[in-house]
Symmetry: C2
Subunit: 471 residues, 2 copies
């Protein structure tokens, strides 16, 4: 696979939409409208055999009629016409194509899908799909998704790239990512993988500087050996968080019926995931929950976690959560304790978890953050900021953001609650502080970060040799 | 403990606020303002030795100066004055009291706390606290919480009662409950339990018709044997979902430092929880997640779960989640399959999980719900409604609400996503359909419901004899 050609999917100079239409119910209409809405800077060529114009642009009866160079064709026409259209793209010099249309091997029509593979090879034209949503690139503003914007919030620009075999999981997780407020680099829905598969995509993303962490939903792997080889090198450079559908016997049957994937034995996959540093989650909520800590936090040098809280009960639950997740409650140095004894009011018992009481304000949070981020006995920090308490307000959020920007240690915030808490959570998330709804979900994310950091420390001399370290 | 006196906390005819103040920074100010804001229908007597009026009401120098009957006194003055004020309440015939003030056994002042117990006994006057937030009753509109309303959303009226030993966990979970959109009956924060403890509260709630399910955060039990005896009878009538802080060695130490609770061995508690039908969760998010299914759903007759989805990948993850939680994917009857074959489009493979494809609209959802809610092979239903897909809109939500109202089978909805999804989630939650963010969280809640149903089936002849079944 030519890497440069894969790049074209995300940065095309021009795009043809085969099946573009004035009818808002048509997929081709929504895709074209999205290109216009996001302010795509390249040429857009609608292809429609019956229309003179589509959405105010000159329409072409056939891709062959477009005289200029077309980098990317998005094919969204009924299944019967797809292979012919794809062949016409190839013969017209289109450089790559996305087949959105479904009705191929996922419904037993392997013959139709094989035809797409054959055409792609014939013209050396990379093809994504069929049965997929295509791609989104937050920087180039390419967006081939056929979902209207009112149904789907679009994320802001960031370092997370999401790869999904399933279109539905793809759009849902994108919508969740926007709602959570963290930033996206790219989105790739690859569907049945007639040509471009998970290995090609990972090889490409490994060297994509905009991608800091990959979230991956998959049901099965086509090229097992190559997948392992790629993953082994990939995880030395950046993390992959993977949700694999079909890890149980019942789920495996369901996956086969869904994308015709041979989901494989759960045990075999689990072993591979662990051995090669893939971070495995069971569901989409953890995909997001882990995604945000890897997007914003660096390396965890150890598993000793300081807990700072303005609510005693939540501190107790957090301590339980660390223990249940195999992390350790940090023991502050005597120097740190002495410093805190000086600044904290008498009712505060200076020990871990540090319960600063319900009237803790930004100054008390600042004093505690100052001490724990500088304590050599502390590897990571979990701050529980309950915004329902009298002392917690926007200054507390600003204080936490300040210490986040000035400390290399991983810091997570636990802030559950309603509107007042949510406003502050968005403020903190927007400044790169990962926020969680419970001590347990924060502890799980910290554990994933620690495990990955350990993996890299233990394997870089084995798998990491000769790999140029990413940023 | 006299049951009728405990009822007075929630339905007082008159209330005195000792420490009521014009100064908005004072706890007594916020409590009094809350009474006024919620439109409390009884008399309110502010007690303040320096003021003539507080918030426009005539103030009294001392509780003794109030000539009329006072049902409830809320004491929110510095710790030094509390026992004297409580004694004056007793001698003036006040019928019950809440001590909001902290600074008692949680900071080692057992002597001060014992004094409160002694005064309570002397006058046979039930006392809640000290070191607590008091109570909230959604029907009588009593609200002794000293948190301003802009920081804390207030829940709507419903069947969930939340009992919390910790004030901070209490206010945070209340705020989360409002945000989730499910309804509250009562809230009780009991703090150090100088007089009224967890046993008294459960004995009272057992026969409170407005309470359908109890959520409980506790760190330790004072009267172990009585607690077990009460719980054994309680769980035969309605469920208790319990989050216990300090179940791990580290957490237990933290709990001791927080509420001076002897958290006890995790294994011992776990054994008691399991044996007597308590539903145990590790964190506050699961407290809510389980709370809403018990609030709205009835009994699970078995563990066979039908999955209906408009996204194939999510159906695969849901199938995995059932398996991982010890539930079973239902196998539809041949009759059901025949019915579905007739109404579903050809692309839909009629089997479980039922993937109705991304263009499924309300009619397709209705056809599927009609079949599975009437299939004898189905005990519970998990509907995955991805509102990002082209076919899903408000009619789909309305359809699910319709089938919920017309079927005795437990039904849960999985609907992850941003604004468009959230609007519909609120619509469904408001009509008593529990909505979850992921297949895993829905599966865990269904499992808890099934386990509790099984517990009742297996124990009602042992523990349930002679107990009048609650509604």
């Amino acid at each position: 696979m030519d890497k440069k050609k894969l790049d074209l999917f995300f940065n095309p100079g021009s795009v043809a939409i085969i099946g573009a239409s004035e009818n808002p119910d048509k997929v081709g209409h929504v895709i074209m409208q999205n290109y216009i809405d996001v302010g795509f800077s390249g040429m857009i060529y609608p292809i429609n055999k019956n229309a003179k114009t589509v959405l105010g642009r000159k329409a072409y009866k056939n891709i062959k009629d477009v005289r200029s160079k077309v980098d990317l064709a998005v094919i969204a026409i009924p299944v019967e016409g797809v292979s012919r259209a794809l062949d016409e793209c190839g013969s017209s010099g289109v450089r790559c194509a996305i087949v959105v249309t479904s009705g191929f091997s996922e419904v037993g029509r392997d013959d139709l899908q094989d035809e797409l593979t054959r055409i792609s090879n014939k013209y050396s034209m990379p093809v994504l799909g069929p049965n997929c949503l295509g791609v989104m690139d937050m920087r180039s503003r390419v967006d081939t998704m056929f979902l209207p914007t009112f149904k789907l919030d679009k994320p802001k620009i960031g370092g997370v790239t999401f790869v999904s075999q399933s279109g539905a999981v793809g759009s849902t997780v994108l919508d969740m990512i926007s709602h959570e407020g963290f930033g996206l680099a790219k989105f790739i829905s690859y569907g049945n993988a007639a040509v471009i598969d998970e290995v090609d995509i990972l090889e490409y993303l490994m060297h994509d500087d905009n991608t800091k962490v990959v979230l991956f939903y998959m049901e099965g792997v086509k090229r097992g050996r190559e997948f392992i080889d790629t993953v082994k090198r990939f995880t030395q450079i950046k993390p992959i968080i993977i949700a694999k559908g079909g890890t149980t016997p019942d789920g495996s049957k369901a996956a086969h019926s869904h994308t015709a994937s041979l989901a494989g034995s759960a045990t075999a996959y689990e072993a591979v995931f662990r051995q090669f540093g893939l971070i495995h989650v069971n569901d989409i909520d953890d995909l997001l929950s882990y995604g945000k800590i890897f997007d914003t936090e660096g390396v965890a040098n150890g598993k000793r976690v300081a807990i700072i809280t303005n609510g005693g009960g939540t501190g107790v639950l957090a301590t339980d959560a660390l223990y249940l997740n195999g992390l350790e409650l940090a023991e502050m140095s005597s120097d740190s304790k002495a410093k805190l004894e000086k600044v904290m009011p008498k009712i505060v018992n200076v020990r871990m978890p540090l319960d600063m009481a319900g009237d803790a304000d930004d100054k008390r949070f600042a004093a505690a953050m100052d001490v724990v981020t500088n304590d050599k006995n502390v590897d990571m920090v979990m701050v529980i900021a309950l915004f329902q308490t009298p002392g917690a307000d926007s200054r507390v959020a600003a204080t936490l953001i300040h210490y986040k920007s000035n400390s290399p240690k991983p810091i997570v915030v636990v802030s559950p609650g309603g509107n007042y808490a949510q406003v502050h959570n968005q403020m903190m998330e927007g400044s790169g502080l990962p926020v969680y709804e419970s001590p347990s979900s924060a502890a799980r994310a910290l554990k994933a970060l620690f495990d990955y950091s350990e993996y890299i420390r233990n394997t870089r001399d084995i798998y990491g040799k000769g790999i140029k370290k990413g940023k």
